[in-house]
Symmetry: C2
Subunit: 476 residues, 2 copies
Amino acid sequence: LTYNPVSPALVERLRRICGPDAVHLSDSPGFARYSHDQTKDTRLHAEPEVVVFPSTTEHVQGILQAATEHRVPVTPRGAGSGLSGGAVPLHGGIVASVARMNRILAVDPASMTAVVQPGVVTNALDAELEPLGLFFAGYPMSEEFCYIGGNVAENAGGGRAVKYGVTGRYVTGLEVVRADGTVMRVGGKLFKNVTGYDLVSLFVGSEGTLGFITEVTLRLMPRPRYRGVVFVLLPDVEDALAIVNELLITERLTPSALEFFDDFSLHQSCRVLGESIPYRDAGAALLIEADSHDEGVLERERERIQAAVRRYSSVATFSAETEDEVNRFWRIRKQVPWSIMNYSSPRSSEDLVVPIAHIAEFVREAKRIGLRYDTPVPCFGHAGDGNIHTSPLRNPNHDIEHWHRIFPQLQRELYQLAHRLGGTLSGEHGIGHKRRAFLSIFLDETALTAMRSLKQTFDPLGILNPGKVVDLEPEV
Amino acid sequence: LTYNPVSPALVERLRRICGPDAVHLSDSPGFARYSHDQTKDTRLHAEPEVVVFPSTTEHVQGILQAATEHRVPVTPRGAGSGLSGGAVPLHGGIVASVARMNRILAVDPASMTAVVQPGVVTNALDAELEPLGLFFAGYPMSEEFCYIGGNVAENAGGGRAVKYGVTGRYVTGLEVVRADGTVMRVGGKLFKNVTGYDLVSLFVGSEGTLGFITEVTLRLMPRPRYRGVVFVLLPDVEDALAIVNELLITERLTPSALEFFDDFSLHQSCRVLGESIPYRDAGAALLIEADSHDEGVLERERERIQAAVRRYSSVATFSAETEDEVNRFWRIRKQVPWSIMNYSSPRSSEDLVVPIAHIAEFVREAKRIGLRYDTPVPCFGHAGDGNIHTSPLRNPNHDIEHWHRIFPQLQRELYQLAHRLGGTLSGEHGIGHKRRAFLSIFLDETALTAMRSLKQTFDPLGILNPGKVVDLEPEV
């Protein structure tokens, strides 16, 4: 596949389609931000030739028709909060930001659904839903800035997926503009739907490579009124995971969050926050949250969680009841990635998933790999889902060249470990171009071929976000 | 597309692949059952030329390789409990029953997953899971006889979908034999997975038209220990739906079931069962169930449900606490389709879905349509999901010719009503060949074309269950 450069004629056409102020060239202020997402490694960055800001579905249709005729790639962009390069224009061309498609088109409490444009900030939708007693339950942890469209494109998930699942569970309808500019509507305000193949799920998580999402219908859930957190400091990760097992299987609970921290993640986050809890004496921690519409129900849940935790010897246990207390412990969790970034760079945010039975073994072996390379491999994340964020990072005593020498092999060992335990490459951050070369470790050739066929079917010219997820040509 | 008849050479080859006792011809006892599922209309039946019973994935591979070479269609068959003709061999050829692929391959409580062959009866799996405190939460209402493979192929759902969702939510991995006989494995014992396109969801609900499912990995959930039902007799359906709204939005509850009955469904079922509740005074009913791992939590939920119900004037309210009492009210619900069948025939089981805000309007208008045709249109089903089973049936005072004259137009009016309210054709029963001609009412041409492309991609020769969901050639 070859692409043409963006010509002055194409720029002119984009201006006619979207309006002159909606087309930015490299001399526009802030243009550089469109060459990357939250991935810091500059080798994963790439500059667009032009950034365009459609406001309507018709604008997106016009952009894709023009791109098809000119054979120029189009990379859709949400808030740029991704972690796998999904929004990076690997082959240049057009970045189409949905920042101006930020209208909440309908909130329908009686149908428990909302219809939004892709550029709506997740928390902006939440602010509309809160007074109605509803919420979008699949939201990721970057809810303050991420866009709904990006959540859908990456099938993002957050800290409450153990109870509520991830974004995809709540997407009941989509409007998608196809590569040739035609509009397709699939699904609706419907909670069950087997009317033909599940095209909605096919587009969810496809990172803009199969179509351009221009409208999202979300199922809403009753919003819990009460929330409580039990935070436990434990001797090590094995204890933490024994408690996870106890809660889910023996107690048959469905907590709204089950987050774990290894020693490095816990210590580093608490140190940065100046936390007063005795974290230094602990080798792991667990954040267990319950939520409910009813205070009495929450009280019962909390009692059961505390009783289960008491059966293990902990360093310390805290029960958070007020919003401030609950937020205090979530802050420790949310600070982990930033505190790791603070500790040293470069680092790599990994997003591996293993069957929940193998979390302890994964963490133990990941740490061994780190020891062998004499560099930290902190592990933390979603214990209820087996989604483990490992962030191998440079030992500050090593120079950067050393890191670049050891990292590819270290990363491959982590991936092979996850694969050996029945795991997979990404749970919620996506493939983008960052992880594309590693798909073949986790997917057999038949599955990869099937995915390439899907790409070929929906985007025969390869203009939709090329170089992400899979390529039309097999990897070499 | 044209198919060859099943030749003696092909029969011989199937015998070599699966064993001589695994190949049945039309002279075998019980052969007739393979020409239909639970759909009674004989115009929807079709005879296979041969029925084969594979025991292993390799058998299925061999069958599909042979079928590809001979250009003979293969229709996978589960328990035959479907309601849209999915297992009917519309173009003859081979029916491949998974009845012998009935092994539970692994139950892994520590990973909260089970791996099963497609012929496992849903309740047989449940019996294995019960002592472990786990369950497969997406099961349909025919759990006593339906197979897991059929549930997956149809994306079946049941009475507890309002809380737990349908089958697809719990399918985390599949082994699929493709049309050419190659094996593809997708997903695993993983609760989050964005590693490439969502092939698992593409196969779920595809009715055996894209691949032959030979192994299913299911996510298991903590099994609730306690269950309680509040059963309310109400003046009419509008009251029932006002209570649904009150429970979900005002009270923010997530009941484990929210089933509604219109007057006809309620009266007919209670009459057949000889029920002593004062159903004759009621125009509608609601079965509200809560479940929990904890008795105290259940008690709180029940109190809130009862308090909400008391705000409406009901004919009578019952609270069921013991298993026997709970089963009594579920029996009224489960008896509805059978009691309707008892009342008169023919009838047509419909499976429409509308946004939950429009259930009352749908039911009101459906009844008006029935009045205009002077024939009953009972409505009942899953109020929490908007999935309304309407069963238009012949007025016993009319002759069958009259029914056959009015039915197509009556059905079309029902479908147009659902479409006008933003609804869709099927929530959990599937398209099969029964509903295929009506897809174009609910799907726009772009979506239908996309589905045909998917079929073409996965089954270019059209040998996998042809004539179901979509055809390779556009409808005329």
